[in-house]
């Protein structure tokens, strides 16, 4: 059964030793961010801060709640030990069977309603996550919803929001992102764009908001599909948008047309602060509603692992796998590599004909998820692409520095790629690279392809079985 709200999910994490209640007072100014960051990097349980310096009892902060594959599996309703392909299958079942949300009259998110001059974003313990960030970020694990003015489609995406003052937020939204397109449509007509930010939803909604759902598809429907039951949603107080009824904190207002104010920088999912402080969109807040004892959810992005290496990797891998399968390519697995900040896509495949790696790479770069993975590595189907030891070994030993590396210049760029120079970042210019780590099929296997000297490959089956069944008898603790 799906989680009714964030609190049920946190209880489940606690049951599985995936949550730590931090009862000691923690400062919102860098300390909480440092804890979340270290918990992410060490794959420790998610911290739930229960006492935030300067904030009333009950105002809590939860970090890194799906920052690991284990916790993402739990969020998707799977065992924590579920494999990455199992999680992709669960995501696939949900996204191909969307369920419309059910509108209810009211819900816990309306327990407190603050309007007009009483609005105060500083009432919530928005943390200063990284030293040198542009400000306190209230929205880093959440969704922001806006409506397409032409179609009425409600888009939900994860767009960071920094606190400017009591009733203004600032944020980065790229033109290629769905909300970026909506904001520009309205701005061209001189109109503000209504928005709502939902912080602390049940876990699936935020995960879907962080994923690359196609334009025109309602993320709330997809979340219902993954949950296996519709979300219950309520209407906002001051804008014509819907949010899950059990959301912890709901911020309503409008994005101001023709207004940009410096926002950022922010420690990003690539593991760097690649984009500078710069003039960006401004959100004017008209209303805040929240649950009693609200929980502010936060991701402290940075060097993987983080939520990027869990949910972003998952949804991008799913999208690329779907596109490659649709082309009939004989791929066996896809992993948009979380360890690489999703800037690398690894594909394992059979190699029925020469040049298949090029076809695979072309399809990867043609998808929305794969377009921000400028590096593609194609390996033979005997490689477990979720085992980085095997992947690095294949790259180092099978990819010829000249014949195996194929560079594509003048590609669409990704502005957050840290290795790009300033001009490339500014203009979104890019280049791609394919690393073909498959054995060439025109090599005579007996002569040119060296056998792999691994336990799995170089011993007869009966010897492998004997060794495995006697492993503990030899004195080893486990397999």
């Amino acid at each position: 059964m799906a989680y009714r709200d964030l609190r049920e999910f946190l209880n489940k994490l606690e049951e599985q030793q995936e949550l730590v209640h931090v009862k000691q007072e923690v400062d919102w100014n860098l300390e909480a961010g440092a804890v979340i960051r270290r918990a992410s990097e060490t794959e420790s349980p998610a911290p739930l801060f229960e006492k935030i310096k300067g904030y009333p009892k009950g105002f809590r902060l939860a970090g890194a709640i799906v920052a690991t594959h284990r916790r993402l599996a739990i969020a998707l309703g799977l065992p924590s030990s579920a494999s990455f392909p199992d999680m992709m299958d669960a995501y696939d079942r949900g996204i191909t069977n969307p369920m419309k949300p059910r509108i209810v009259r009211t819900g816990p998110c309306k327990e407190n309603v603050i309007m007009g001059d009483d609005v105060n974003l500083y009432a919530f313990p928005a943390p200063m996550l990284h030293d040198g960030d542009g400000g306190r970020y209230i929205s880093t694990w959440h969704f922001v919803a806006t409506k397409d003015p032409d179609t009425g489609w409600q888009n939900c995406g994860m767009y960071r929001q920094m606190v400017h003052n009591r009733n203004h937020l600032g944020g980065l939204t790229m033109p290629s992102q769905h909300m970026g397109a909506i904001l520009r449509k309205n701005e061209q007509c001189g109109k503000p764009t209504e928005f709502v930010t939902a912080i602390g939803t049940e876990p699936v909604t935020a995960c879907v908001a962080a994923s690359a759902v196609p334009y025109g598809v309602d993320e709330l429907d997809v979340a219902g599909g993954i949950r296996g039951e519709p979300l219950e949603v309520v209407k906002c107080e001051t804008v014509d948008l819907l949010v899950p009824a059990t959301t912890e904190i709901v911020i309503e207002g409008h994005v101001v047309p023709h207004m940009r104010v410096d926002e950022g920088p922010f420690g990003e999912f690539t593991g760097y602060r690649a984009s500078p402080r710069a003039p960006r969109w401004v959100y004017r807040v008209t209303c805040i509603t929240y649950r009693n004892d609200p929980i502010l959810t936060q991701s402290c992005m940075g060097v993987p692992p983080s939520e990027t290496s869990s949910i972003s990797a998952l949804c991008k891998s799913w999208a690329v796998r779907k596109a490659l399968r649709a082309e009939g390519l004989p791929i066996t697995d896809v992993y948009v590599c979380g360890e690489a900040g999703c800037l690398l896509c690894i594909v394992s495949t059979k190699t029925p004909y020469p040049g298949i790696a090029h076809r695979i790479a072309s399809v990867v770069w043609g998808t929305q998820g794969g377009s921000v993975s400028p590096k593609v590595m194609v390996v033979n189907d005997d490689i477990d692409i979720h085992n980085m030891n095997e992947v690095i070994h294949a790259f180092a030993t099978k990819c010829h520095p000249v014949r195996g590396t194929h560079v594509v210049e003048h590609a669409a760029g990704f502005q957050l790629c840290p290795y790009q120079n300033l001009e490339e970042r500014t203009w979104g210019k890019g280049s791609n690279a394919l690393y073909d780590c498959t054995w060439p099929i025109d090599w005579p296997p007996e002569i040119a392809v060296p056998p792999t000297a691994s336990f799995r490959n170089i011993y007869p089956e009966d010897i492998q079985q004997r060794v495995l069944s006697n492993w503990k008898n030899y004195g080893f603790k486990d397999k």
Partner: protein
């Protein structure tokens, strides 16, 4: 007690010492930014009564080992005005 502010610049050389300058600073207690006129110096002995000003690059890293000093001469309002 001296207050602590910071500011973001492209290059350290964008700042001029000992000259009234308009700039955006952040109060490091609230991280709310505002526009001010201020006199800046790079070492404490040049402005012993000044408040502290960390100078950061546009990507957030501190550009000096020690903070500069700042004396605010006029409040110019919010960056949102």
């Amino acid at each position: 007690m001296a207050k602590v502010y910071d500011t973001f610049v492209e290059r350290l050389s964008d700042l001029e010492e000992n000259k009234e300058t308009e700039l955006v600073i952040r109060d490091c207690e609230t991280y709310e930014a505002r526009r001010v006129n201020a006199v800046l110096v790079s070492s404490k002995d040049k402005l012993p009564e000044g408040d502290m000003l960390w100078v950061r690059a546009l990507r957030g890293q501190k550009l000096t080992k020690e903070p500069w000093l700042i004396r605010i001469t006029a409040e110019l309002g919010s960056i949102l005005d």
